[in-house]
């Protein structure tokens, strides 16, 4: 019988081996060698790092090159000291940093073993005892008596790893070197590292091989630009890292190169309103019947905002057609293009349709449109969207109704002026405050009519000031302007990725009064997409999180205002002042991305 002696301890009871609190590292200002560099400043390699590692844990540190991984490891190993912060490491630390560190090219492998071991703090006697094991592990054979200058990178790794693998330590740090070894040696390293883990040694590893991290580590730390972006489970950390790499591909590098695979704009208006209600096309395909189906599976003419919607289209094929694609477009009744998905944009290829009948169906998971009247076009196009087989332009009317449970929308702004209902979360207000404010629910509604001729203007009536407006993408990467618009290229969000808006205000806020924060999302052409209103009192900042910002590529503006409850005007209003841009990796038409699926079926005659 096997009895296990393993005790599962509470995390807090486990001894901490490494403990970092608020570690920051500034590299000192150096006079630039090149005269071209005129603007130079201190470089913060690490900013305010907090974390701890328990005994026996394996922590993987991942991040792009230059994220601060090596600096962090150097600080833990004590080679460099932090500018601010507190660090404590219990036990002996061994590190395997860049290959060749600590090695002397002129000395032989064996001499280097002694030199290295003694530098790492062991006595000559201890190393002599382990010498045999080190040479065996390295498998260097005859080369051990050759000068190190003749070694390849892989052989250096073998020697370096063999030395530390056979000496005694509590914390082992390995910095991006294992990749140099061949597969056999990597496996050997890996099993030795697993062995250390079982023996309760603490491991810190940085590598670009996510495979190794996944197999070896219990926890990962994702670093970027000297800050911890994520700390926690291995799989999530790795996924976030990959996601980070994907966004970085856009944000790093010269402008003309970075935007290659991204679409920056979409069609935002209907072509010609007078054509609405007409049918065009060669009539090789004839659309028979178009049905809107609501969430209960019934035919309907109106759906509630936020509900699922299916558009079912039956058609007859008269002549064989090649490479057709189906499209559905939704316009607001004034011609604003809401969304126009088609099968070509979504990457489907339909080779040909033979004579017969068929139907296709477009399923929207959530219709994020504001209540109002919309017109729908249905089309079957040829490959390049030049020649329609059948095109019912603005032919069908769809009514979107207000849904009864309108979430945390306290005061109702007339919904007609809006276009979208993008879901968001406000993290500003406690539950109690919410209850209090609930009483005043409909007492004050900002009168947005007065904004009509205030586009791109800042109006400040009261003593309140907007201190900063920051828009982050999910990785807290491209934070955009506070007030300096110096980083315009970076005001870029990605369609369907999370976004977070933080507004902070200052000035004479009367704590006994309630205010209303109003945020307007506008298109660049002044079409209002959505209003967000939030009553507040006693706070100085407001965070609004969009779990997925579905705005399609294009230029947008943010408006921010504070409405006093007793006055009939804004205390402060920055209308259309904060520009931002969204990009998306697939072409599309319209303003908002609605998640959808396509289905189609053909019956040949």
């Amino acid at each position: 019988m096997i009895t296990s002696h393993t005790k599962i301890l509470q995390e807090d009871l486990q001894p901490k081996t490494i403990f970092l609190r608020g570690i920051s590292k500034k590299y000192p200002l150096i006079r630039p060698v090149s005269k071209d560099v005129t603007d130079f400043k201190d470089f913060w390699a690490l900013k305010d790092i907090f974390f701890e590692v328990y005994k026996g844990q394996a922590l993987g540190i991942i991040g792009r090159n230059g994220a601060g991984k090596t600096t962090l490891l150097n600080i833990i190993s004590g080679v460099i000291s932090p500018t601010h912060g507190e660090i404590s490491v219990n036990g002996k630390v061994l590190g395997l940093f860049n290959l060749g560190v600590g090695f002397q090219d002129e000395l032989t492998g064996k001499e280097n073993i002694f030199l290295n071991g003694i530098i790492l703090g062991f006595t000559r006697k201890e190393i002599e005892d382990k010498l045999e094991a080190i040479i065996d592990f390295s498998e260097l054979g005859e080369f051990i008596n050759m000068p190190l200058g003749s070694y390849s990178q892989g052989m250096r790794l073998r020697l370096g790893f063999s030395i530390i693998a056979n000496l005694d330590f509590d914390v082992l740090i390995i910095d991006e070197v294992l990749a140099v070894g061949d597969v056999l040696f990597q496996n050997k390293c890996f099993s030795r590292l697993m062995d250390f883990k079982r023996r309760g040694k603490t491991l810190l590893i940085t590598t670009q091989s996510m495979d190794l991290i996944e197999k070896l580590c219990d926890r990962v730390l994702l670093l970027d630009h000297g800050e911890i972006l994520f700390e926690g489970s291995v799989l999530e950390g790795i996924n976030r890292y990959y996601a980070l790499l994907n966004t970085e591909r856009f944000f790093v590098g010269p402008l003309h190169r970075q935007k290659e695979s991204w679409f920056e704009n979409t069609k935002k208006w209907a072509d010609n309103l007078s054509d609405w209600g007409k049918k065009f096309g060669t009539k090789d395909v004839v659309i028979d019947k178009v049905e809107f189906i609501n969430k209960f599976g019934r035919r309907c003419e109106s759906v509630k905002s936020g509900d699922p919607l299916r558009v079912k289209v039956n058609f007859v094929v008269r002549n064989i057609i090649k490479e057709p694609h189906f499209g559905v477009a939704i316009f607001r009744n004034d011609g604003v293009y809401c969304y126009g998905p088609n099968t070509a944009f979504d990457g489907y290829e339909i080779k040909e349709i033979k004579e017969g009948k068929g139907c296709f169906e477009l399923q929207f998971k959530k219709l994020l449109l504001a209540p109002g009247e919309y017109m729908v076009s249905i089309a079957v196009w040829d490959k390049n969207e030049i020649l329609p087989f059948d095109f019912h332009n603005g032919y069908y009317k769809l009514i979107v109704e207000d849904c009864c449970n309108s979430g945390n929308k306290f005061p109702a702004i007339p919904t007609q002026s809006q276009l979208l209902k993008i879901p968001f979360k406000i993290r500003a207000i406690s539950f109690l405050q919410r209850m209090n404010l609930f009483k005043d629910r409909y007492r004050y509604i900002p009168d947005l009519e007065i904004l009509r001729d205030r586009w791109e203007r800042k109006i400040e009536n009261g003593g309140i000031k907007i201190e900063s407006v920051k828009l982050f993408n999910f990785y807290k990467q491209c934070c955009f302007f506070s007030f300096g618009e110096h980083s315009r290229e970076k005001n870029i969000l990605i369609t369907n990725k999370p976004a977070e808006l933080i507004v902070t205000f200052s000035g004479s806020i009367n704590y006994n009064k309630s205010y209303l924060l109003w945020i307007g999302l506008y298109r660049d052409d002044g079409i209002c997409c959505q209003h967000i209103t939030q009553p507040f009192s006693r706070i100085r900042s407001c965070r609004i999180l969009f779990p997925e910002l579905p705005l399609l590529p294009g230029n947008y503006r943010l408006s921010i205002g504070i409405w006093g409850t007793s006055e009939r005007d804004f205390l402060i209003c920055h209308h259309g002042v904060y520009p931002f841009q969204t990009v998306f990796n697939q072409p599309d038409h319209g303003t908002v991305y609605l998640k959808h699926n396509w289905k189609w079926r053909f019956i040949e005659n």
Partner: protein, 274 residues
């Protein structure tokens, strides 16, 4: 101070290994090996002898001119080589330093030790030859260890100081080279002290004597050559001065080295990379 001595004792293996490494790097590849440690100082002495004795005809009273040269060139070379090697040593060994966080000053210390090992054999040969040629050694030979100790302490301290300064100010190396050349000509290595005394006004001569290396060089000569004491007495009236000055100088240099190291030890590694 005791902490530093303790640390030195604790890292004796490391110093030993660093010294062995350095000696191996220097002498394992040349064909003549460690023999160069003897050969090169003697060759230098021969060159000096040819220049100053046959061409410039410098006259020294009391001791043969070649001995006079040797007694200056050997200690001077120890001092100069130690400093020249040490000044860039932290940068040269940044690989080692970044491997583990040992005290930085161990590197200049080990370099001075290496140079000391090379310095000792020629010095021993000089003593033996002077015993044989001058027929006996003076009583002052018993002070030789003390003089050596002072000289080594001055060398170690200035090596540490220059190596730390070089990490932040790379100009240090060039300033040091010029300074060493100046100091060499300001020490009576190949000219007699009496020549300086007769050609300098008394105040300037006093100032000239304030160079601790002048004192140390003359102390070496007093202890090694039998009759040198009486010769030097004609130039310098109070000999306590040339003993006290190097001691004070050594102590102040050590204090300065400790202060500089304490102040900079956290930031040195930041500067090593660039």
């Amino acid at each position: 101070m005791t902490a530093i001595i303790k640390e030195l004792l604790r890292s004796r293996y490391l110093i030993q290994e660093l010294v062995i490494k350095d000696l191996k790097l220097r002498y394992s590849r040349p064909l003549l090996g460690f023999f160069w440690a003897f050969l090169s100082p003697f060759l230098i002495v021969i060159i000096f002898y040819l220049v100053f004795s046959l061409i410039l005809k410098v006259e020294i009273r009391g001791v043969p001119f070649i001995f006079y040269l040797m007694s200056a060139v050997f200690p001077w070379r120890f001092f100069q080589d130690s400093l020249i090697c040490s000044v860039t040593s932290l940068i040269d060994n940044k690989n080692l330093i970044r491997e583990s966080n040992f005290a930085h000053y161990l590197i200049p210390v080990s370099i001075v030790l290496v140079n000391m090992i090379i310095f000792f054999p020629p010095l021993l040969i000089l003593i033996i030859v002077s015993l044989w040629v001058l027929k006996g050694l003076g009583i002052f030979i018993i002070f030789l260890p003390i003089i050596l100790a002072i000289h080594i302490i001055i060398t170690v301290a200035s090596a540490i100081i220059s190596s730390i300064l070089y990490v932040k100010w790379r100009d240090t190396k060039y300033i040091l080279e010029i300074l060493l050349l100046l100091l060499f000509y300001l020490t009576p290595a190949f000219y007699p002290l009496s020549l300086v005394r007769t050609s300098f006004p008394p105040l300037l001569f006093r100032f000239y004597l304030c160079n601790p290396l002048v004192c140390i060089l003359n102390l070496y000569r007093i202890s090694i050559f039998r009759d040198f004491y009486s010769i030097i007495r004609q130039d310098i009236s109070d000999l306590t001065f040339i003993i006290i000055l190097p001691v004070i100088f050594a102590i102040s240099l050590v204090l300065l080295a400790i202060y500089l190291y304490r102040k900079n030890k956290d930031s040195i590694n930041d500067y090593l990379s660039y």
